[in-house]
Assembly symmetry: C2
Homo-oligomer: 359 residues x 2
């Protein structure tokens, strides 16, 4: 596991599980604004992808990236990636407000796109991406890392599909994040037009998990809130937000996100999910089992037979990435459907739009 | 600890901490419909109260009570309690819809009243009780047991008052409860007019905790939901509910309650509370630390210095009961203000009234 004290640079590593031969699936990285790009690349490389080129606007950031991935050739002009017929997919972690337009450019060049969350900061960008994906037949996939790159979260999905907790009726997710030292984040992190608001940003992980675990394709935001409790120096920043959501199938979700993670926690956030079913519940302690040395990725399952605990780290893997590569080659949708990726994005934008500001 | 597998008969016992001399504070018990009456009486007796009389309509239930408390004289007519000048307070756990009217009768007889939660099933009853309390100068106190009779919950309040987590910005409470075998509950438990709905009933604990931990005297229900996912045989029953609440001081609450606790859990419910502050957070694992043998009453505190755990059982006590007895004698409000008790009741009734029904 990479730097655990800083969520922005949290880039999980898993077991290599290649689904293609070396050189069979070339991809590139563009715009390294968020450290999640490392997690995106790790996942694709472990699944057999070949990282062949990288483009970024900041030389220092680019140098660091090339040190980690010496196989990637730094290019000075993005067209060297966009117009390279060997490259099938572009992974990117641009400033959030640029992610949608960048994805449309990538898709218009005949390539699939794999962006860091949040995928959009406006419903207009979402609409443009939907239209472009439909017109080009390309994929606009999203790195919803708090499920896709967390082994206990993957295991939870498997248990639910096996019916271990009956019908899922609620997902309760909490996503506390460490803000870090004052001013340690880039400027865009504090500008609402650029980061989109807390529900749009880290709330997107939550709504993706809600849709996935409850098996919903439709949902309505019932209520939402945002606040800036601790960062008055940054008036456009939101350090707290929550969402109540009602799914089309009658299951509901509640999701709280914040940037209030105290310094004394040994990792960047005590992220949890409690998935309540009619026949049991699952609790995920994703990154830490606080006050213990159990490590993260603890899955607790309580059903009619008893209380069970699974330490998932190193045991489950991250099947999303291999499936994504296969989907790009086979034009299938086994990793995540396009509809699902867009619906999670839509819901987080809707939540942000209706959020009541508290203080 | 009494029967841990059944929340209805959960009647904590603590260390005796008398605040009066034997015989100085006489109280009686009336209407034993909910097993919480045992917790109410235990608390008062440990604080020095003298349980002198009991009235109930069901002979078997009365006999069981008298076996537990042989000091209590069973009376055949409630007037033997209501008109006994030696009795200062009446503890009662009537069918929920009868609690308000009974309280008014008790107060009109010049006695303080200590009812099981939920205190009311209608806003009309609340209004009558407010008026009667004001006119008689008597107390209408409520056994919000999930805070008052849980040592870790008391410890959390103390830590918050010491400022250990800064400003409290959210209380996130979950109150799963075991329903038990089909049909094991009394008939009133399934009739909405009698039990009031899940938010009115077990939601009342939650809103009391919200007000207490956030230090609010005013709040607004932002959204609420109820559902009956698993008990279609009982169409008026609700086995799931949740509430989003916004406090007057800008702190918010989210509270989920349910009757879906799986049989395999070793206790009646994995009740939790996460209290988020600007400088840290507290998690309470009230009745069990699931999959461990740590016991219940685990308080976890994470602040800027580190991760801390306190096993609170047997160490904190239940100061509410002694304070209540002193308040009845001294006409003070150290245990709980009347305003607070009524406001929690009002909020749970408002939440129930605005709740969206999902399925």
């Amino acid at each position: 596991m990479a730097n655990a004290s800083d969520g922005m640079n949290y880039a999980p590593k898993g077991k290599a599980a290649p689904v293609v031969q070396p050189g069979e699936f070339h991809f590139a990285a563009m715009h390294l604004d968020h450290g999640h790009i490392y997690g995106q690349c790790n996942g694709l490389i472990e699944a057999g992808g070949t990282l062949s080129k990288v483009y970024d606007t900041e030389p220092e950031r680019l140098a660091r990236f090339c040190k980690t991935y010496p196989q990637a050739k730094a290019v000075a002009d993005p067209r060297e990636i966009l117009e390279d017929p060997a490259i099938r997919l572009v992974a990117a972690a641009a400033v959030p407000c640029d992610r949608g337009p960048l994805g449309c450019v990538v898709m218009r060049h005949g390539k699939d796109y794999f962006t860091d969350k949040t995928p959009f900061t406006s419903l207009q960008h979402l609409a443009e991406a939907k239209r472009t994906a439909a017109e080009t037949g390309r994929k606009y996939m999203v790195y919803y890392s708090e499920r896709l790159h967390v082994e206990s979260a993957i295991a939870a999905g498997d248990l639910i599909q096996e019916g271990r907790i009956g019908r899922v009726v609620q997902v309760l997710g909490t996503g506390p994040h460490r803000h870090g030292a004052k001013g340690s984040r880039p400027a865009w992190f504090y500008r609402k037009a650029q980061y989109g608001g807390i529900l749009c940003d880290i709330g997107s992980h939550q709504l993706e998990q809600f849709l996935y675990y409850t098996g919903n394709s439709e949902a309505t935001i019932q209520a939402a809130k945002v606040a800036n409790y601790r960062n008055p120096d940054f008036p456009e920043f939101e350090d707290f937000g929550d969402i109540s959501v009602i799914g089309g199938n009658g299951a509901t979700g509640y999701h709280r996100v914040d940037w209030l993670n105290p310094d004394g926690l040994r990792t960047w956030g005590d992220g949890r999910a409690v998935i309540l079913g009619t026949e049991g519940y699952i609790e995920l302690r994703k990154y830490i089992d606080v006050t213990t040395d159990n490590g993260g990725d603890q899955l607790i399952l309580v059903d009619h037979k008893g209380e069970h605990r699974m330490a998932c780290a190193g045991k489950i893997g991250f099947p999303f990435f291999g499936r994504l590569i296969r989907d790009c080659i086979d034009r299938s949708e086994t990793a995540m459907t396009q509809t699902h990726a867009f619906k999670a994005a839509e819901l987080c934008l809707q939540a942000q739009a209706v959020a009541v500001k508290v203080a």
